[in-house]
Amino acid sequence: ISKSPKKLPNGFYEKAAHNNTQRVVSVCKMYFLDYYCDMFDYVISRRQRTKKVLEYLEHKRAQNMSDQTLNMEWNGYIQQEHDVLRKRRLKPKHKDFE
């Protein structure tokens, strides 16, 4: 099976060798490399931030900070993360070309 000829459209190789196609393919690969690096970077560093905030809040709780203040601090942190995430949706490309 693996040796059967592939059905490629007429003129595939001419088109594939064309500058434009080559460029689009490069850009596509670049885009995905960049996207996944950035996405993993974001997810991991966000988890680390959250972990540190939770540790900090735990530490404060041990120092008898009121529950209300703790909740406020946590909500403040969440709101900030939320804003950062929203910005990622709005300008996904801009920061890649700074």
Partner: protein, 306 residues
Amino acid sequence: MAFLQNFHLSPGQTIRSTRGFKWNSGPNQQQQQQQQQSQEELPPSSSPLRAKENNARPFNDTSNNNTVYGGDPLLTTPIRSEPQLQQQQNVTDFNYTPSHQKPYIQPQSGTTVTTHQDIKHIVEMTLGSEGVLNQAVKLPRGEDENEWLAVHCVDFYNQINMLYGTITEFCSPQSCPRMIATNEYEYLWSKGKGIPPVSVSAPKYVEYLMRWCQDQFDDEAIFPAKKDGVFPERFIDKIIIPILRRLFRVYAHIYCHHFNEILELNLQTVLNTSFRHFCLFAEEFKLLRPADFGPLLELVTELRDR
């Protein structure tokens, strides 16, 4: 960084090379080493995004936090950990083809071009290693589900735009006069309520579809851009699911009718990673039903059981 030289960028544009890719989990020792390495490199936040956020944090000046975010974030640049190419941990061959396409299964090893080793390496690792993407799609603690889904929805839109962009030369009204995925499925486009959906060519369909998505992304009432903007009622059911359901059809068309071209262009790992990410995401939040996967149901099942 040699691979960066292959990309054609307009003068003045540069690509950031400072981002770190970090292995989140790894059974393999080398990975663990790498992880330790990058943990030393990464925590002092380097991207302007995080640096900014750092400064803005209200309780940033407490002693506890200072130790946590110690060091000058601007001076420490995480170096992208070198991909370890000799790592041969079970790299999964991902060139699955649904049964009706049996004749063109594997790419011959000769078709694998060695440029872009980095992305190949990363996506192969992504495919091979358990749970990296599965972990990444999970809702971060405390985050609004709508926002998380909206961000991903836009990301998948961009990914599909990129993927389809590479084969526009090969997907013309002549080659694909109807938007089909195998002979069993044809997708029709409806221009509005009450107007019966019509059969259009694949490039036309994708054009309409992308325009339709973009119009919604631009609509402040649907995808709020302001800080205090809120999502509409039943945002997931009414907006997210219809968009994903349609975006999926572009994957279906590419897989069923342009997979050979993708193989020849050596984009199969990119396509597979993107699609797998899409499926895992849809599954995590229960967004698509099996019926929505129509022609690729086999592939999706394979992915899930992997």
